[in-house]
Assembly symmetry: C2
Homo-oligomer: 162 residues x 2
Protein backbone atom coordinates (compact mmCIF):
# COMPACT_ATOMS: atom_id res chain seq x y z
CA UNK A 1 0.00 0.00 0.00
CA UNK A 2 1.31 3.34 -1.05
CA UNK A 3 0.64 6.21 1.37
CA UNK A 4 0.91 9.95 0.75
CA UNK A 5 1.82 11.91 3.90
CA UNK A 6 1.26 15.64 4.25
CA UNK A 7 2.77 18.09 6.74
CA UNK A 8 0.41 21.03 6.21
CA UNK A 9 1.45 24.67 6.08
CA UNK A 10 0.91 27.75 3.95
CA UNK A 11 4.37 29.07 2.98
CA UNK A 12 5.75 25.52 2.93
CA UNK A 13 3.99 22.15 2.83
CA UNK A 14 5.87 18.87 3.18
CA UNK A 15 4.80 15.75 1.26
CA UNK A 16 6.13 12.20 1.12
CA UNK A 17 5.10 8.97 -0.57
CA UNK A 18 6.04 5.69 1.12
CA UNK A 19 5.39 2.01 0.39
CA UNK A 20 3.99 0.22 3.47
CA UNK A 21 6.27 0.90 6.43
CA UNK A 22 9.31 -0.15 4.43
CA UNK A 23 10.34 2.21 1.68
CA UNK A 24 10.37 5.94 1.01
CA UNK A 25 9.47 6.43 -2.64
CA UNK A 26 9.85 10.21 -2.83
CA UNK A 27 9.38 13.36 -0.82
CA UNK A 28 9.47 17.09 -1.31
CA UNK A 29 7.90 20.43 -0.45
CA UNK A 30 5.43 22.82 -2.01
CA UNK A 31 6.47 26.41 -1.42
CA UNK A 32 4.40 29.52 -2.04
CA UNK A 33 5.87 33.00 -2.19
CA UNK A 34 4.47 35.52 0.30
CA UNK A 35 4.45 38.20 -2.44
CA UNK A 36 1.54 36.35 -4.11
CA UNK A 37 -2.12 36.76 -3.14
CA UNK A 38 -3.76 34.14 -0.92
CA UNK A 39 -5.84 32.78 -3.81
CA UNK A 40 -2.72 32.52 -6.04
CA UNK A 41 -0.92 30.61 -3.27
CA UNK A 42 -3.88 28.26 -2.79
CA UNK A 43 -3.92 27.64 -6.54
CA UNK A 44 -0.22 26.61 -6.43
CA UNK A 45 -0.82 24.28 -3.46
CA UNK A 46 -3.80 22.67 -5.21
CA UNK A 47 -2.04 22.30 -8.58
CA UNK A 48 1.14 20.84 -7.10
CA UNK A 49 -0.55 18.42 -4.70
CA UNK A 50 -2.80 17.22 -7.55
CA UNK A 51 0.35 16.62 -9.65
CA UNK A 52 1.98 14.60 -6.82
CA UNK A 53 -1.17 12.43 -6.52
CA UNK A 54 -1.30 11.86 -10.30
CA UNK A 55 2.41 11.05 -10.44
CA UNK A 56 2.62 8.57 -7.52
CA UNK A 57 -0.94 7.20 -7.41
CA UNK A 58 -1.06 6.59 -3.62
CA UNK A 59 -3.68 4.15 -2.23
CA UNK A 60 -4.41 6.37 0.76
CA UNK A 61 -3.29 9.57 2.43
CA UNK A 62 -2.45 10.84 5.90
CA UNK A 63 -2.35 14.45 7.03
CA UNK A 64 -1.18 16.04 10.26
CA UNK A 65 -3.96 17.68 12.27
CA UNK A 66 -3.49 21.38 12.73
CA UNK A 67 -2.09 22.11 16.15
CA UNK A 68 -3.80 25.23 17.35
CA UNK A 69 -1.04 27.79 17.48
CA UNK A 70 -1.15 31.13 19.22
CA UNK A 71 -1.11 32.85 15.85
CA UNK A 72 -4.71 32.32 14.80
CA UNK A 73 -4.35 34.21 11.50
CA UNK A 74 -1.70 31.68 10.46
CA UNK A 75 -3.96 28.81 11.61
CA UNK A 76 -6.77 30.14 9.41
CA UNK A 77 -4.49 30.42 6.35
CA UNK A 78 -3.10 26.91 6.93
CA UNK A 79 -6.71 25.68 7.14
CA UNK A 80 -7.43 27.25 3.74
CA UNK A 81 -4.48 25.27 2.33
CA UNK A 82 -5.76 22.09 4.04
CA UNK A 83 -9.11 22.80 2.36
CA UNK A 84 -7.64 22.67 -1.16
CA UNK A 85 -5.51 19.61 -0.26
CA UNK A 86 -8.60 17.72 0.96
CA UNK A 87 -10.40 18.79 -2.23
CA UNK A 88 -7.58 17.22 -4.29
CA UNK A 89 -7.88 14.03 -2.18
CA UNK A 90 -11.63 13.88 -2.83
CA UNK A 91 -11.25 14.54 -6.57
CA UNK A 92 -8.80 11.62 -6.75
CA UNK A 93 -10.97 9.31 -4.57
CA UNK A 94 -8.17 9.21 -2.01
CA UNK A 95 -9.20 8.23 1.54
CA UNK A 96 -7.27 9.96 4.28
CA UNK A 97 -6.66 9.84 8.01
CA UNK A 98 -5.69 12.70 10.29
CA UNK A 99 -3.05 12.44 13.01
CA UNK A 100 -2.28 14.86 15.81
CA UNK A 101 1.41 15.91 16.13
CA UNK A 102 1.67 13.90 19.39
CA UNK A 103 0.41 10.75 17.60
CA UNK A 104 2.99 11.20 14.82
CA UNK A 105 5.82 11.58 17.33
CA UNK A 106 4.56 8.62 19.37
CA UNK A 107 4.38 6.39 16.28
CA UNK A 108 7.89 7.28 15.09
CA UNK A 109 9.87 7.52 18.35
CA UNK A 110 7.58 5.96 20.98
CA UNK A 111 7.63 9.34 22.75
CA UNK A 112 4.90 11.93 22.14
CA UNK A 113 7.15 14.87 22.94
CA UNK A 114 10.16 13.90 20.83
CA UNK A 115 12.13 16.79 19.31
CA UNK A 116 12.94 17.34 15.62
CA UNK A 117 16.37 15.67 15.85
CA UNK A 118 14.96 12.49 17.44
CA UNK A 119 12.26 12.37 14.77
CA UNK A 120 14.71 12.79 11.89
CA UNK A 121 17.09 10.20 13.38
CA UNK A 122 14.30 7.60 13.74
CA UNK A 123 12.92 8.28 10.24
CA UNK A 124 16.40 7.73 8.82
CA UNK A 125 16.79 4.41 10.74
CA UNK A 126 13.28 3.04 10.08
CA UNK A 127 13.63 3.52 6.33
CA UNK A 128 17.42 2.84 6.17
CA UNK A 129 18.01 6.18 4.47
CA UNK A 130 21.53 7.45 3.76
CA UNK A 131 20.48 10.98 4.68
CA UNK A 132 17.74 12.62 6.72
CA UNK A 133 15.01 13.97 4.42
CA UNK A 134 15.44 17.74 4.09
CA UNK A 135 13.90 20.19 4.90
CA UNK A 136 12.14 19.38 8.22
CA UNK A 137 8.74 19.65 6.52
CA UNK A 138 9.58 16.76 4.16
CA UNK A 139 10.90 14.65 7.07
CA UNK A 140 7.67 15.39 8.97
CA UNK A 141 5.65 14.31 5.94
CA UNK A 142 7.51 10.95 5.91
CA UNK A 143 6.58 10.54 9.60
CA UNK A 144 2.92 11.35 8.87
CA UNK A 145 2.91 8.86 5.97
CA UNK A 146 4.35 6.26 8.33
CA UNK A 147 1.43 6.87 10.72
CA UNK A 148 -0.95 6.32 7.82
CA UNK A 149 0.82 3.12 6.83
CA UNK A 150 0.76 1.75 10.39
CA UNK A 151 -2.92 2.65 10.54
CA UNK A 152 -3.61 0.79 7.27
CA UNK A 153 -1.77 -2.28 8.67
CA UNK A 154 -3.93 -2.28 11.82
CA UNK A 155 -7.12 -2.03 9.75
CA UNK A 156 -5.95 -4.95 7.57
CA UNK A 157 -5.10 -7.13 10.56
CA UNK A 158 -8.44 -6.37 12.21
CA UNK A 159 -10.24 -7.31 8.99
CA UNK A 160 -8.27 -10.61 8.91
CA UNK A 161 -9.34 -11.43 12.52
CA UNK A 162 -12.99 -11.01 11.58
CA UNK B 1 -20.15 45.56 -12.98
CA UNK B 2 -21.46 42.26 -11.74
CA UNK B 3 -20.35 41.28 -8.22
CA UNK B 4 -20.55 37.87 -6.54
CA UNK B 5 -20.94 38.12 -2.76
CA UNK B 6 -20.20 35.23 -0.41
CA UNK B 7 -21.26 34.72 3.19
CA UNK B 8 -18.87 31.90 4.15
CA UNK B 9 -19.75 28.88 6.26
CA UNK B 10 -19.38 25.13 6.24
CA UNK B 11 -22.86 23.64 6.66
CA UNK B 12 -24.40 26.56 4.76
CA UNK B 13 -22.81 29.19 2.51
CA UNK B 14 -24.76 32.16 1.16
CA UNK B 15 -24.10 33.56 -2.30
CA UNK B 16 -25.57 36.45 -4.29
CA UNK B 17 -24.90 38.08 -7.64
CA UNK B 18 -25.76 41.77 -8.02
CA UNK B 19 -25.37 44.34 -10.82
CA UNK B 20 -23.66 47.50 -9.51
CA UNK B 21 -25.52 48.74 -6.44
CA UNK B 22 -28.84 48.60 -8.27
CA UNK B 23 -30.11 45.11 -9.02
CA UNK B 24 -30.07 41.68 -7.41
CA UNK B 25 -29.61 39.15 -10.21
CA UNK B 26 -29.84 35.97 -8.15
CA UNK B 27 -28.98 34.50 -4.77
CA UNK B 28 -28.99 31.18 -3.01
CA UNK B 29 -27.18 28.89 -0.61
CA UNK B 30 -24.84 25.93 -0.83
CA UNK B 31 -25.63 23.38 1.84
CA UNK B 32 -23.53 20.39 2.86
CA UNK B 33 -24.86 17.52 4.93
CA UNK B 34 -23.05 16.82 8.20
CA UNK B 35 -23.27 13.06 7.50
CA UNK B 36 -20.69 13.51 4.71
CA UNK B 37 -16.92 13.58 5.25
CA UNK B 38 -15.12 16.92 5.34
CA UNK B 39 -13.49 16.29 1.94
CA UNK B 40 -16.87 15.37 0.41
CA UNK B 41 -18.38 18.56 1.80
CA UNK B 42 -15.48 20.66 0.45
CA UNK B 43 -15.96 19.02 -2.94
CA UNK B 44 -19.64 20.06 -2.96
CA UNK B 45 -18.77 23.66 -1.97
CA UNK B 46 -16.10 23.84 -4.70
CA UNK B 47 -18.31 22.30 -7.41
CA UNK B 48 -21.33 24.47 -6.63
CA UNK B 49 -19.45 27.76 -6.30
CA UNK B 50 -17.63 27.02 -9.58
CA UNK B 51 -21.03 26.42 -11.21
CA UNK B 52 -22.38 29.77 -9.87
CA UNK B 53 -19.31 31.59 -11.28
CA UNK B 54 -19.70 29.90 -14.68
CA UNK B 55 -23.42 30.63 -14.77
CA UNK B 56 -23.38 34.33 -13.81
CA UNK B 57 -19.87 35.37 -14.95
CA UNK B 58 -19.31 38.04 -12.26
CA UNK B 59 -16.63 40.73 -12.87
CA UNK B 60 -15.42 40.60 -9.28
CA UNK B 61 -16.17 38.98 -5.94
CA UNK B 62 -16.51 39.96 -2.29
CA UNK B 63 -16.33 37.65 0.70
CA UNK B 64 -16.98 38.25 4.37
CA UNK B 65 -13.90 37.95 6.56
CA UNK B 66 -14.14 35.20 9.12
CA UNK B 67 -15.07 36.63 12.49
CA UNK B 68 -13.06 34.71 15.02
CA UNK B 69 -15.67 32.79 16.96
CA UNK B 70 -15.17 31.03 20.28
CA UNK B 71 -15.59 27.70 18.53
CA UNK B 72 -12.19 27.38 16.89
CA UNK B 73 -12.91 23.96 15.35
CA UNK B 74 -15.76 25.55 13.42
CA UNK B 75 -13.51 28.45 12.40
CA UNK B 76 -10.95 26.00 11.02
CA UNK B 77 -13.59 24.11 9.01
CA UNK B 78 -15.05 27.35 7.65
CA UNK B 79 -11.49 28.33 6.65
CA UNK B 80 -11.17 25.09 4.69
CA UNK B 81 -14.34 26.01 2.81
CA UNK B 82 -12.99 29.55 2.21
CA UNK B 83 -9.86 27.86 0.81
CA UNK B 84 -11.78 26.01 -1.92
CA UNK B 85 -13.90 29.12 -2.66
CA UNK B 86 -10.76 31.25 -3.16
CA UNK B 87 -9.34 28.47 -5.36
CA UNK B 88 -12.47 28.69 -7.56
CA UNK B 89 -12.04 32.51 -7.72
CA UNK B 90 -8.42 32.09 -8.82
CA UNK B 91 -9.25 29.43 -11.42
CA UNK B 92 -11.81 31.83 -12.91
CA UNK B 93 -9.49 34.87 -12.76
CA UNK B 94 -11.94 36.54 -10.38
CA UNK B 95 -10.49 39.32 -8.21
CA UNK B 96 -11.98 39.55 -4.74
CA UNK B 97 -12.11 41.82 -1.70
CA UNK B 98 -12.67 40.82 1.91
CA UNK B 99 -14.94 42.69 4.29
CA UNK B 100 -15.24 42.34 8.05
CA UNK B 101 -18.80 41.82 9.39
CA UNK B 102 -18.74 45.32 10.90
CA UNK B 103 -17.87 46.84 7.49
CA UNK B 104 -20.74 44.99 5.84
CA UNK B 105 -23.21 46.22 8.46
CA UNK B 106 -21.84 49.76 8.25
CA UNK B 107 -22.15 49.79 4.46
CA UNK B 108 -25.75 48.55 4.45
CA UNK B 109 -27.27 50.28 7.49
CA UNK B 110 -24.72 52.95 8.43
CA UNK B 111 -24.39 51.21 11.80
CA UNK B 112 -21.65 48.62 12.44
CA UNK B 113 -23.65 46.75 15.07
CA UNK B 114 -26.95 46.47 13.18
CA UNK B 115 -28.96 43.32 13.87
CA UNK B 116 -30.22 40.78 11.30
CA UNK B 117 -33.67 42.42 10.98
CA UNK B 118 -32.20 45.88 10.26
CA UNK B 119 -29.88 44.35 7.67
CA UNK B 120 -32.67 42.47 5.91
CA UNK B 121 -34.95 45.52 5.94
CA UNK B 122 -32.24 47.74 4.38
CA UNK B 123 -31.31 45.14 1.76
CA UNK B 124 -34.96 44.90 0.74
CA UNK B 125 -35.22 48.73 0.46
CA UNK B 126 -31.90 49.34 -1.32
CA UNK B 127 -32.72 46.83 -4.05
CA UNK B 128 -36.51 47.44 -4.08
CA UNK B 129 -37.19 43.76 -3.46
CA UNK B 130 -40.69 42.45 -2.85
CA UNK B 131 -39.38 40.06 -0.23
CA UNK B 132 -36.34 39.76 2.00
CA UNK B 133 -33.89 37.22 0.57
CA UNK B 134 -34.19 33.97 2.51
CA UNK B 135 -32.44 32.38 4.38
CA UNK B 136 -30.29 34.86 6.36
CA UNK B 137 -27.14 33.53 4.69
CA UNK B 138 -28.39 34.58 1.24
CA UNK B 139 -29.43 38.03 2.55
CA UNK B 140 -25.95 38.39 4.10
CA UNK B 141 -24.39 37.45 0.76
CA UNK B 142 -26.37 40.25 -0.94
CA UNK B 143 -25.00 42.67 1.70
CA UNK B 144 -21.42 41.44 1.09
CA UNK B 145 -21.89 41.82 -2.69
CA UNK B 146 -23.14 45.38 -2.08
CA UNK B 147 -19.90 46.12 -0.17
CA UNK B 148 -17.93 44.81 -3.13
CA UNK B 149 -19.96 46.94 -5.54
CA UNK B 150 -19.51 50.10 -3.46
CA UNK B 151 -15.79 49.29 -3.29
CA UNK B 152 -15.61 48.95 -7.09
CA UNK B 153 -17.38 52.31 -7.48
CA UNK B 154 -14.86 54.05 -5.21
CA UNK B 155 -11.94 52.54 -7.14
CA UNK B 156 -13.51 53.73 -10.43
CA UNK B 157 -14.09 57.27 -9.15
CA UNK B 158 -10.54 57.48 -7.80
CA UNK B 159 -9.20 56.34 -11.17
CA UNK B 160 -11.32 59.05 -12.88
CA UNK B 161 -9.88 61.77 -10.58
CA UNK B 162 -6.36 60.78 -11.54
Amino acid sequence: MRVLGIDPGFAIIGWAVIEDTARVIDYGTIETDSSLSISERLFIVYTEISAVIKRYRPDSAAIEKLFFARNTTTALDVSKAIGVILLAFQQNALCYSEYAPVQVKQAVTGFGRADKKQMQCMIQKIFSLKETPQPDDAADAVAVALCGSIGNGIVKRMAAIR
